[in-house]
Amino acid sequence: MSPTTSRTTPQSLVDQAVAVSTSDDCVVIVHDTTSANLRWANNTLTTNGVMHGISVTVISFVRTSEGVATGSVSGSASTQAQVTALVQAADAAARLSSPAEDANELVRDRVSPDWHDSAVPTDIHVYDAFAPALGEAFGRASAADRVLYGFVNHEVSTTYLGSTTGLRLRHVQPTGHYACTGKTADLRESAWVGGATRDFADVDALALDAELAQRLAWGSRRVDLPAGRYDTILPPTAVADLMIDAYWYAGARVAWEGQSVYSQRGGGTRIGETITAPGVHLFSDPTYDGLECAPFVLASSSDNESSVFDNGLPLARTDWIRDGELTGLLQTRHSATMTQQPVTPAVDNLVLAVDSGAGSVEDLVAGTERGLLLTCLWYIREVDPQSLLLTGLTRDGVYLVENGEITGSVNNFRFNESPIDLLRRFSHASATLPSFSREWGDDYFSRTATPALRVPDFNMSSVSQAM
C-alpha cells in the first residue's frame, strides 16, 4: 500500500495509533526531528545538509494467562496510513511474543501542559551569523598557514509520548555542538576546540580560530617524551569522556549478576560502598541549568537497562555517587525489584562535581610544577570490565607544563586507566563547567558538566606517533 498524501500533526499520529490499536494497551513515541549541519576540511566546506525525519515507535501490550507480552515496531511515518501499519505490526508482534519478564503496570494519566504545541524546527539559518564568520576564519587561517577542519550540527527533536493509559507527554530537545581542529600547514601540530550549545548564539567562529592559533603556537617548542606515569591535567572534555563510560557501564542488573566494576565479589552490587575519594559527586538531573533533558522515561525496547513498561516514569535528580559512595545504578522497575534498590532509570545528562573543586584549567596549570595538560581523548574502549580499565589515545594537543606554565607540546600517548580509579587518585579538581565529550558527544551523549582533574600518576602506556 502506498502512503497517502495527507499531512498530519505528531499528536494526531499518537491519537491515531492509540485509536486503532487492538492490543490491551499501547504506548506511542513520536520524534519529530530537524537538523542542519556544516562540515569543513582544508579551509573549505566539504559536506552539509538539512534533514527532517519523523519516527514513530508503537509498543503493543497483550495480556495472557501467563503474563504480558510486548511488541515494538518503529518506522519513519508521516501519515495516518503509515502509523496504522506500524500499529498492526506491533500488535501482531506482541501476540506472537512470550510473556515479558519486566512486566509492570503502565504509567497512567500524566499530561504535559504543552502537549498541543507544534514540533519545534531548526534550519540552515541557525548558521546565519556563524557561516560568514567561518568563511572569514578560513581566510585568516589560510593567510597564517593554519588548516581548519570541523563540524557544526544543530538538531531539535520534539518528542510526543502517548498511551492508552492516559500519557500525553511532550519534550523539546535542542542539541547542538561545534568542534574545530586546527593544524599547522606542515600537519605536524594539531589542536582542537569544541563544545555544546543549544542555539549557536554563543558560538563565534573567529574566536575558535583564535584559540586554535594560540594552542598551535604552544607547539613551537616540541618535546618528545617516553611512555610512563605523568602528573596529568585532564580538561573537562576528557573527564566527560571517561565519566560517560563510567555511567554507561553502571547497569544495575549486570552489576547484580556479577559482571561489572560495580559488582560485589560473592554477589550483589557495591551500592553503599565508598568507591572514590570523598567529596566526589556523580549525578544526573533533567533540570540542570543548560543541560535540560527529557524529564520522563522513553524506552522503545527492553534490555538490561531499559523497560518499555517504564515509559513515562518521571525522572528527577539521581545521585550515582554521593560523597564518594556508590548510591545508585541504572535501573528499570524490573531490575530495582531484583536488586531491592530504588527505581533510578537513566537520565540523558551527567554531572561530576568535586567539593574541593575550584578555579579553572588554567589554575590547575599554574599549580603544577611539571606535568602534562591534555586537550582531549579518543578511541576509548573497555579493556577489562573487572576494573573498568579503559584504553584510548590523547589527541590534538598534549602540552608540557613546567613551573606553572605551558612550555611546549608533547607527542601523543595511548593510555590505560579506569575512570573509577581516577576518581580515587586525583589530586586537584577545578570547578564544574558545561563540557562536551570529544569521543561520545557528537552522536551519543552531549549533555555533560565536569571539572578538570589533575591526576598525579596517569598511565601513558605507550607513545603514539599520530600528530
Binding site: G49, S74, A93, S302, T391, L393, S464
Partner: protein, 508 residues
C-alpha cells in the same frame, strides 16, 4: 534460487519522486543532481538467561537529493513520499548549495561513470530473515542460552540476532537508475561466569554475514559445536594464569585478525582520511598519498585487496550510492601501498589512482550512506588479506613458534587517529610452547604500531585457513554514520609483538 526484489519496496513511488526531484534540480540549473530513495529495515532480538528481553523492528524510509551547484555540494532529505515534497527537497538542496558556495574554496567536481539505465541487483541469500517469524528466531536464541547455562562455569548467558534488509533506488541526471536489495545478519551469544576472585565471559566467534536465515542451519557455521565448547572454554579461561607481559610471537586466527585489518589497513587506506576530510572526527592516515607505491606497509608476504564484490561480503553491492559499479583492486601488493578506496569526487581529484582510458580517473565504488537522511561519503570496501597459495595450515604456523600466543576471537579494540598505535584484546589467548598449544592465559592485550606489526608478519596461512570476518558497526563521519563491512584473512604468524598484562596496566 536467488532472491528477488521485494515487491513491498518496488511498489513504493520512488520513480515518480526521483523524476520530480531531478526535474526540479535541472530547472534550477545545477551541474549535477542525484536522487536516492531508501527503505532500510532492522530487527533486533535480545535474550538473556532463557528469556526474550526485547524484540524490536525499525524501518528507515525516505529520500535525499544531492546537487552540485555553483561549485558546492547541497544536500537535503525528506520523508513525505510525494512528488511535491521531492521537488521541495530538491529546492532545499539547491538553497543549501548556495549557502555552502560562500565557504567552498575548491569547486566540487566528480569523476565520470558509465550510465546504467535501470539496472537491478540483489545480494546472495536464500531466506530473508525478516520473513521468518520472530517466535521461531526467539526460540532459537532461548535454546542457545539454555544450552550454554548447562555448563558448570556459566552463571548467565545472553544471545542476540541483528538483521537488516536494505533497499535503495538511485537516479541521477546522467540517466543512471539502479534498484538494489541486500540482506545481512549478525547472530551472537556470550556465556558469563565467576572465578575465585574474578569474572569473565566467552563469546561466539561467528562472523556477521551477507547471508539469509539459512546461515543458522545450512552448515556454513557450526553453531552446535561452538555452543557445546564455549562453557568449557570459559571454565578454562576463569582458571587460567595471568599472562606475563613481554614480547611474544603471535599466531592470529581470522576471528581476531579481521578487526586488526579493519582498523590498521581498512581505515588507513580510505582516501578521504588521507586527504584530511575526517581530521576533526575519525582522523587522518599515516598512509598519505605521496607515499603511494613507496610505503613499505608490511612484509613481502602481505597482499591486501579492496572489493565490494565478494559473495556474502557485508560491503558487497552492485552499484554504490553514487551510481558507480563496484570493483576489486589492490591496496597492498608484496608489502607496498598501491591503492586507496575512492568516491567520485576523489576519483576526479586523483585520476591516477583508478585511471580511465581518457585519463579522467574513476571512482572505485566506495560511496555509501547509511540512511536516506545522510549524505554519501567514502566508506570501506571489503578489505582483505590474501592467503598464500599452498600456504601453511594453522597447526603448521603454531608449530613454528617456540614461545608465543595463539589469538582467537575479537573483543576490545582501539587505534589512534592516524592509524599508527593500536591495542587489541581477544576472546581467548593460548600459550604456545615449542610449537604446541599449552593452555589459556588471561588478561592479555597486544599493542603495536601498524607498519611494525605488518612488517613482523612472517607468514600467512593457506586458503584453507582463510575466513571472512566483519562488523555491523563501523562508525565514521559527521553526522555519524554506521556501515557494515567484511574482512577476509588467513591465520597469520607475527614475530615479536608487545603483550601487556591488563591487570598490570590497571595497577599502580
Amino acid at each position: 534460487m536467488s532472491a528477488q526484489l521485494d515487491q513491498t519496496f518496488t511498489s513504493l513511488p520512488y520513480r515518480s519522486l526521483g523524476d520530480a526531484a531531478l526535474t526540479r534540480a535541472r530547472e534550477l540549473g545545477v551541474t549535477h543532481a542525484d536522487f536516492r530513495f531508501e527503505r532500510v529495515r532492522y530487527q533486533r532480538l535480545g535474550v538473556r538467561d532463557g528469556v526474550l528481553q526485547g524484540a524490536s523492528d525499525t524501518e528507515d524510509l525516505g529520500f535525499a537529493v544531492r546537487v552540485i551547484h555553483h561549485g558546492a555540494w547541497g544536500f537535503a532529505s525528506g520523508v513525505d513520499l510525494t512528488p511535491q515534497e521531492a521537488a521541495r527537497v530538491a529546492e532545499t538542496a539547491v538553497a543549501v548549495a548556495l549557502v555552502a558556495a560562500e565557504m567552498t574554496s575548491s569547486p566540487v567536481e566528480v569523476a565520470d561513470e558509465p550510465v546504467y539505465d535501470d539496472v537491478t541487483w540483489v545480494s546472495s541469500y536464500l531466506v530473508n530473515p525478516l520473513d521468518v517469524p520472530v517466535a521461531e528466531k526467539a526460540a532459537l536464541l532461548i535454546d542457545w542460552t539454555q544450552r550454554l547455562r548447562t555448563g558448570a562455569a556459566v552463571d548467565h548467558a545472553s544471545a542476540y540476532l541483528l538483521q537488516v534488509q536494505e533497499n535503495k533506488y538511485y537516479a541521477d541526471l546522467h540517466g543512471t537508475r539502479t534498484t538494489q536489495q541486500r540482506v545481512r545478519l549478525q547472530p551472537g551469544f556470550e556465556a558469563m561466569g565467576t572465578g575465585a576472585d574474578t569474572f569473565d565471559s566467552m563469546a561466539s566467534i561467528a562472523p556477521p554475514v551477507g547471508r539469509g536465515w539459512e546461515y543458522l542451519s545450512d552448515g556454513s557455521y557450526d553453531w552446535d559445536e561452538e555452543i557445546e565448547q564455549v562453557p568449557e572454554l570459559l571454565a578454562q579461561k576463569l582458571k587460567a594464569p595471568s599472562v606475563e607481559a613481554g614480547s611474544y610471537d603471535l599466531v592470529i586466527h581470522p576471528s581476531n585478525l579481521w578487526l586488526t585489518i579493519h582498523e590498521s589497513i581498512g581505515h588507513a587506506t580510505e582516501l578521504d582520511r588521507a586527504l584530511g576530510y575526517e581530521a576533526n572526527y575519525a582522523g587522518t592516515s599515516f598512509a598519505t598519498i605521496d607515499q603511494l607505491n613507496r610505503l613499505q606497509y608490511g612484509s613481502p608476504v602481505m597482499n591486501v585487496t579492496g572489493d565490494r564484490t565478494v559473495e556474502h561480503g557485508l560491503s558487497t553491492i552492485g552499484y554504490d550510492d553514487e551510481g558507480v559499479q563496484t570493483q576489486t583492486w589492490d591496496i597492498v601488493r608484496d608489502g607496498v601501498l598501491v591503492g586507496y578506496q575512492l568516491d567520485r569526487q576523489m576519483g576526479r581529484m586523483h585520476p591516477g589512482l583508478n585511471p580511465t582510458a581518457d585519463g579522467g580517473g574513476r571512482s572505485n565504488g566506495c560511496a555509501y550512506a547509511d540512511s536516506p537522511g545522510h549524505i554519501p561519503i567514502q566508506r570501506m570496501a571489503n578489505v582483505s588479506l590474501q592467503p598464500a597459495p599452498d600456504g601453511p595450515s594453522t597447526e603448521e604456523l603454531i608449530g613454528r613458534v617456540e614461545r608465543g600466543l595463539y589469538v582467537v576471537g575479537d573483543k576490545s579494540w582501539s587505534i589512534d587517529m592516524q592509524r599508527f598505535n593500536f591495542q587489541f584484546t581477544g576472546q581467548r589467548f593460548y600459550t604456545i610452547t615449542d610449537g604446541q598449544l599449552v593452555g589459556q592465559v588471561r588478561d592479555v592485550a597486544y599493542q603495536a604500531t601498524t607498519t611494525d606489526f605488518w612488517g613482523s608478519m612472517e607468514a600467512v596461512g593457506g586458503p584453507q585457513t582463510w575466513e571472512l570476518g566483519g562488523a555491523f558497526n563501523c562508525g565514521k563521519a559527521q553526522p555519524g554514520q554506521v556501515a557494515a563491512v567484511s574482512h577476509g584473512c588467513p591465520t597469520s604468524l607475527f614475530r615479536g609483538v608487545r603483550i601487556l598484562n591488563t591487570n598490570d596496566e590497571a595497577g599502580h
